[in-house]
């Protein structure tokens, strides 16, 4: 056994350059897999985090009719905020509950008019959810009774407004009547998410209710739970108590569902990358078998069995795979962990993203020990399995004929 390893080790260095090149191709594949998967995991985490904070919470509640016609933002289908309704949310697993009003509006006049989305929010509750109090870059955050707004940085720029100015909002009420209000621009926020900063503004819930003639109603209720994995279960329990409502956990968000499908697709892609990389090992081993036909014939003539010779060659390919996997895992791990803490700033790209897919602005990679170990083992096993295909030709070699080869 010891001889097998010694021979395989020596063979590895017989054509060092070729072995190293094969190892490098495996290393690149493994590093790319670790980096790409960490990046996708990080990006998914970023989208989930932004979706939960800015769009749906862990659970979003609306009327069924509002959910059906949501693209039209039908204020007439708003929820009545009764104490009975809030009783359904008294649950130890629920961390925060807040109401929001979402409405569409054209800001500015004539050709300079800008389509925007207004959110009526409960300023105090939203500090723990939206966290916009920490994202104010000019002026100050909202108070519950303010007749004021906070504007996204880009939106303020497009409307040529600064803190202290007045924003005139003209929209339609829940009863389809025209309504307007002059609101103080109290603060400017910046999230770094292009779609949010460019088209969203926030005002206190009470002010929005007054503007839109909504009384004590809101278009949606947002719930944050202690354990986000339990959101579907909690949503089911709320739905059971309020069958007339649309209670949707964030996991049902079509974007997130699409991402999970994509993740499976990426797995296939990783496998293909690995196969391509390992094909260089297969090529190397094929060359080895051809090069060493005479030598293999000699060993066979001396009485060495096929399995012994195959073992030597497979261990040689395992060595190539091992070196490649170690280097690739090392580079991939270092790079991914570095970007886990430093992050990749995508603000340049996310400035063009829509508010519906809150992507970025900084994506922190998310490598895990399981991913690293799996990638390493994948590199190692793939090297052995793929190398077996050319190596098994050894069994067909006739020693007498092999010894005659030049």
């Amino acid at each position: 056994m010891k001889d097998i390893f010694r021979l395989a080790f020596r063979n590895f260095f017989r054509n060092t350059r070729r072995s190293i090149i094969s190892s490098i191709s495996v290393a690149i594949a493994i590093a790319v897999i670790i980096f790409a998967h960490s990046y996708i995991k990080g990006m998914t985490a970023s989208i989930i985090d932004n979706t939960v904070r800015l769009i749906s919470g862990h659970i979003r509640i609306t009327t069924r009719e509002y959910e059906r016609r949501e693209r039209m933002l039908p204020l007439s289908e708003a929820l009545l905020l009764t104490p009975e309704l809030f009783q359904a949310f008294e649950n130890n697993s629920i961390k925060a509950v807040t109401a929001r009003i979402k409405f569409g509006v054209m800001l500015g006049e004539g050709e300079a008019a800008v389509p925007a989305l207004g959110y009526g929010v409960e300023p105090k509750m939203e500090t723990a959810i939206l966290g916009f109090d920490k994202r104010i870059i000019g002026g100050s955050y909202l108070e519950p009774d303010d007749r004021a707004v906070i504007l996204g940085k880009e939106l303020a720029k497009r409307l040529r407004l600064k803190t202290g100015d007045t924003l005139t909002v003209i929209t339609r009420t829940a009863y389809d009547s025209p309504a307007g209000m002059n609101l103080l621009v109290k603060g400017i926020y910046a999230t770094g998410l292009g779609g949010i900063d460019r088209s969203l503004f926030y005002l206190p819930l009470k002010t929005a209710q007054q503007l839109l003639d909504l009384g004590n109603r809101a278009t949606e209720i947002i719930i944050i739970v202690n354990d986000r994995n339990k959101a579907p279960l909690i949503a089911s329990s709320i739905r059971a108590k309020n069958p007339e409502l649309a209670v949707v956990p964030y996991q049902s968000n079509p974007i997130l569902q699409h991402l999970s499908v994509n993740e499976s697709m990426f797995m296939v892609l990783y496998f293909i990358i690995l196969l391509v990389a390992c094909s260089t090992i297969a090529n190397t081993m094929l060359m080895v078998v051809f090069e060493r036909q005479k030598e293999i014939g000699m060993l066979k003539a001396l009485g060495m069995g096929n399995s012994w010779i195959i073992s030597v060659l497979l261990i040689e390919s395992t060595l190539i795979g091992f070196v490649g996997s170690v280097i690739g895992t090392g580079i991939g791990t270092l790079f991914s962990y570095w970007l886990k803490y430093k992050g990749i700033d995508l603000s340049m790209f996310s400035s063009t993203a829509s508010a519906d897919i809150p992507f970025g602005p900084v994506v922190y990679l998310s490598p895990t020990p399981v991913l690293i170990l799996t990638s390493f083992l994948l590199g190692l096993f793939a090297s052995v399995i793929i190398a077996y295909l050319p190596v098994r030709r050894v069994t067909k070699l006739d020693p007498a004929r092999a010894l005659r080869t030049i």
Binding site: E109, G110, T168, I170, T173, Y175, D176, S177, P178, A179, G180, M181, N182, D213
Partner: protein, 247 residues
Amino acid sequence: MIRLCFTNLLIIFISLGLAQVNQALEIIERVDRNNVVSTLSYDGKFLINNDGTIRAKEFTGYTKGKDISYIEFTAPARDKGTRFLRMSGAMWMYLPEVEKSTKIAGHMLRQSMMGSDFSYDDFIENRKLKDIYDIKLIGVDTALAKNCYKLELAAKVLDVNYQSRTLWVDTMSYLPIRAEYYAKGGKLMKEIIIADYQKFEGRNFPTKIKMINKLRRNTYTELALSSIKIDVEIPARVFTKTYLERK
């Protein structure tokens, strides 16, 4: 002989056709004479029925010619002071909360006026039907238990609110007591019923109109007009932006 008979028959058919066209035109001219005014001042009340919930809105309005009108809402408190001015083909809205007027974009004129089933265009239209539609008399029919002429109107100009209309014109009052308005694709958009009218010098003017927007569910709006004054002098300053934006 056969040729002579054929020619006579052709002349009879053409004459009958022309007579029908003339009769249709005559009916629509009488409809226009009733509806189209040179000037008008009135008080109005919308009763907007939305799924059984009724909201009332009161207003005062002035109209001059086919393209100038002014409307000011007086109740409820939330809408008090909301004003509209149509002039020079544009429409302006003044909201007291905002204290300035805003131009209503062209496509918005087809939207609901103050949450009612009337659009801004429906409400301010004062053009003669014969100028904008080709008229065809279909025959005599019954609507709201009254004998009516049934007319089909097809747009002959581009800037019409509805591509086609079917009118049931009361043979006594010459008012379209029932009407259906259709979009270009033939989709029924609105149904209108004139429930009551008032006699003025030489004309019958509708005072109670029910508008059903077929694109909305379970809603209709009743419009009641009172204090109607037709062909009276209206001060020119009423139809100005200064008057619209007065405090």
